[in-house]
Symmetry: C2
Subunit: 413 residues, 2 copies
Amino acid sequence: MITNDTKRLGAQAFARLNALNAYSDHPDHLERLYLSAAHRKAVDAVALMMREAGFDAVHIDALGTVVGRYEGQSVGRPALLIGSHIDTVKDAGSFDGMLGVIAGIGVVEALHEAGERLDFAIEVLAFGDEENVRFPSNLSSSRAIAGSFDYTTLDGRDENGISLREALIAFGGNPDAIAGIARKKEDVIGYVEMHIEQGPVLDQENRPVGIVTAISGASRRRIIVTGEAGHAGTVPMALRKDALIAASEMALAIEKLGAKAENGVATIGQMQVEPGAVNVIPGRVRFTVDARAPKDAVRQQLVADIEAALRSIAARRHVTVDIQPFYDAPAAPASEAIMQGLAAAIEARQMEARYLPSGAGHDAMVMGALCPMGMLFVRCKDGISHNPAESMTEEDAGLAIAILLDFVRHYRA
Amino acid sequence: MITNDTKRLGAQAFARLNALNAYSDHPDHLERLYLSAAHRKAVDAVALMMREAGFDAVHIDALGTVVGRYEGQSVGRPALLIGSHIDTVKDAGSFDGMLGVIAGIGVVEALHEAGERLDFAIEVLAFGDEENVRFPSNLSSSRAIAGSFDYTTLDGRDENGISLREALIAFGGNPDAIAGIARKKEDVIGYVEMHIEQGPVLDQENRPVGIVTAISGASRRRIIVTGEAGHAGTVPMALRKDALIAASEMALAIEKLGAKAENGVATIGQMQVEPGAVNVIPGRVRFTVDARAPKDAVRQQLVADIEAALRSIAARRHVTVDIQPFYDAPAAPASEAIMQGLAAAIEARQMEARYLPSGAGHDAMVMGALCPMGMLFVRCKDGISHNPAESMTEEDAGLAIAILLDFVRHYRA
């Protein structure tokens, strides 16, 4: 439901999002990697936005996260955290991450303008290391706050040989103060993150927002199918052990199993064919499988079903299959209380609450270990992200911030 | 049927084949590319073998083919040609090509030892440019004799920048005398080539020899399937346009159509997946199709069926498919008279004549335009060729040469 209020919230948010677009390390497109010069400027810009919006205190923590605090009815109460990230991929869009930070600022600004103080404090967090592009250190800035920072990542290096530790010091951060960032459980009452969906579901169903039920867990496997190379002209079809045809049958089985699993997906992203000549029957095919589901039991069953299907196809086609696990991450379920609060705020605007899993990772995944976690997805055009074509409407942004504001006003820890 | 005669023929052939193994351009494996130093030495060795075996005249033609002539009952009669090639691939086996040349020498040696002169002359040809490894000039040495030499190939260069013309002059050949090599149709009464099968059919059926019905024609297509790349976590299975899953379904359809076509084969030898990241749904897949059949009508129908299947799968999966032809060669049928003659010689030894197509190309493909052509396939272990593991038995070689000798003795133009 678009109102004058949501229009105003959308316009303010888009003005801030546009302002952040100026901070790029690349002259021709948006690129703001963790601890880069553009990231440093964006951090200062976000801190200034927070001060102007009426936050009581703003600081930049030891890992470069901007932390703005808006006190509750008395100073020092436990805080509801609202966060997302301001680092980007290379050649990025304007909304992935930034929307959630700007939304938090918009919520606090609205409370401040109305002179409202809640039972709890609000802290807005602008994380810096979500996209996992520059260093081999995924989600380090939110991990530090959640108390799960991995200190070995400080020695990881970017493609220019600069370590995370060196970059952090040059940025103005402090590798020796990371332990002090970690929040105590009694000081936080929840974490909520607004983010573009990065998928097509809401856009296809013509819904502005959706409630995330869980961030899906993921399992990855490397598959090697070995058959028998041969002359494409001289080996009759019935006598072949064609590794690519076997892999093709496996691909279709994986698609079918992915579609059958509850909210599951299964993807073959890479495939290499050997020897790879026009007139030679493939003797070996290597491919990857990425299987995800919001429920761990569903994902584990999906992986087991895929492995069984691969072995069965291999046996029938007289090829061998080698299955190597190389990544397994559990799902992060959203808090029932936060989902219910978001649903109430959505339904109060005469809209239906649409629940969906997040197949992509987010800072919320890590924050869920510290406190109740929830996410509000906002539709983006055609589900496109990580791309300059990433797009969403000002109306949707305003509506989503109004919902978040409503949620915050009614939230009870 | 192994006899003392076939044993002797096999032993002589294997002694000659072993002798030829010495001529390699590589110290560790057999490699004898067209017009190389090793090829030059092999040419001289084959010429000497011919002289010692009782040929009446031996010469090396302008393109490096060794030509040995054994006159008939009078000098200058039309000739039955027996040939194959002595160039090899890199890291080659000992039999591909060489067997057919050595068989021809064995046949003439037997006739000469028995003091037999036939109604026609016999010429044994050791071609030099069959494997198409060094220059972009496929079958140039047999094409010259068949009158279909392509003069533009003289300017084609090897990987060191040496042109075929330059290499030919250095070898001792003569690019200006190529036209003179071409035979008149009235001077030849047939061309017969013995060759290892390079496929598994005879070995699987436990037969020493088979009669080639035709050298299959081949059609090749480049296929580009374009779907929509996307996040492997966020795009539900039902909303995907996965180019690799579409290509996998196409691969299975191609396999099925290849198996259905009479003596047909269809192979996907190359496949590339883009963008090729573990967590990205493939947006584009490129692959090649190689379809062959001994009957042109069957091959053309096979290609049409494959193209229709690809378009239908693409439409159903909401991806696009682009099909680019890049090679089409017609089949070369074997002569009925030669097939019947070979069958009689096989049946005379209490064996069943097994007819099969040749899916691989041979010099016979080109020679068929000059005169009646036929081929006798000899089994090789597991169908392996173009590999040091290429293997056949001395018994089979002796038996096959005895059959060829019998065929020659009874051949009528």
